[in-house]
Subunit: 208 residues, 2 copies
Amino acid sequence: MSRGIITVLSGFAGTGKGTVVRELLKRHSEYALSVSATTRSPREGEQEGVSYFFKTKKEFEEMIRNDQLLEYAQYVDNYYGTPLAYVNEQLEAGKNVLLEIEIQGALQIKEKYPETVLVFLTPPSLEELERRLTGRGTETPEIIRERLKRAAEESRGMEKYDYILVNDDLDTCVEQFHHIIETVRCEASRNSDRITQIQKSLAEKYGN
Amino acid sequence: MSRGIITVLSGFAGTGKGTVVRELLKRHSEYALSVSATTRSPREGEQEGVSYFFKTKKEFEEMIRNDQLLEYAQYVDNYYGTPLAYVNEQLEAGKNVLLEIEIQGALQIKEKYPETVLVFLTPPSLEELERRLTGRGTETPEIIRERLKRAAEESRGMEKYDYILVNDDLDTCVEQFHHIIETVRCEASRNSDRITQIQKSLAEKYGN
């Protein structure tokens, strides 16, 4: 079984990252969702090892020191990060591991593991993003404006991603995501073993 | 309409390049096959502009001088090459242009047009390649051996391609080829306009 691929999905609030990830996991068994570690307290219904790995500040800082995190960040007073061990287990089992994280984390991972695939999910247009955020009807205009201001900041790093995935139709978007990962698996640089093997066997038997 | 992508398909004799190309053209209207120019004489049934663009040696050498070829090569006494004008017409019409050429030509094009996608078609194993070449029953053992010697030479450049496509099951292979091209269209580097546009509109309306 060949090792899976680490895949980061980022995108503005309201572009449907969660839905795309859920659909992908439902349709294709070769994906697994990464579980983050955090120092914040569990909320009602959150399960250890499913929602998060809950850690004390001391435990988390030890993970940082021991290089046991793929990436991490601090928000307000809490740490959030991606434990390496869980990701590696999944990759070894042949699963492509999905990480739903933001640009800083995405770029940290890409630097450490250049084979990581970074996908940025984008709405077809700004108007559509505004419409989706407003259409939820659950947030105040101030919160919506905050999210769009945040989107303006986040958009600055879009060109650092490998792929831009437009979420217009959900079904098309989920399949395109899957096709990206399948295509990445065909990259010559990820098939050195196969290439070497065919070159060697041809050379031995039919080479000059 | 967005401009199409130049796609080169190479691979050993017996890996089914022709069949893959035919199936792709049949199933997906966004592909067009490039037509080569040659100085060799038309064979029975060959049509000008369909099988080849037939040129005199003088005409062909003028095309070389005027940089009107994407790539060209000389075999025995004849020139073979890919006229730029036809390819450009198809690209402008939004078609992805397929070129079934060998590694020297493929690398010539990639150097001039780095946005070209190079796909190398390979059998699942050497045994399978031998089986397919023998199974045709139309060639002598000497010719089969010549083809395999040629494959040994051609295999040396495999790692210079962008993608390695295994032709195990034809249907899977044709769809994977199509997915490669769809995925390439999602590359951030090919979506600068879309990225700039969303960054600009977000910044203007919600930026600091």
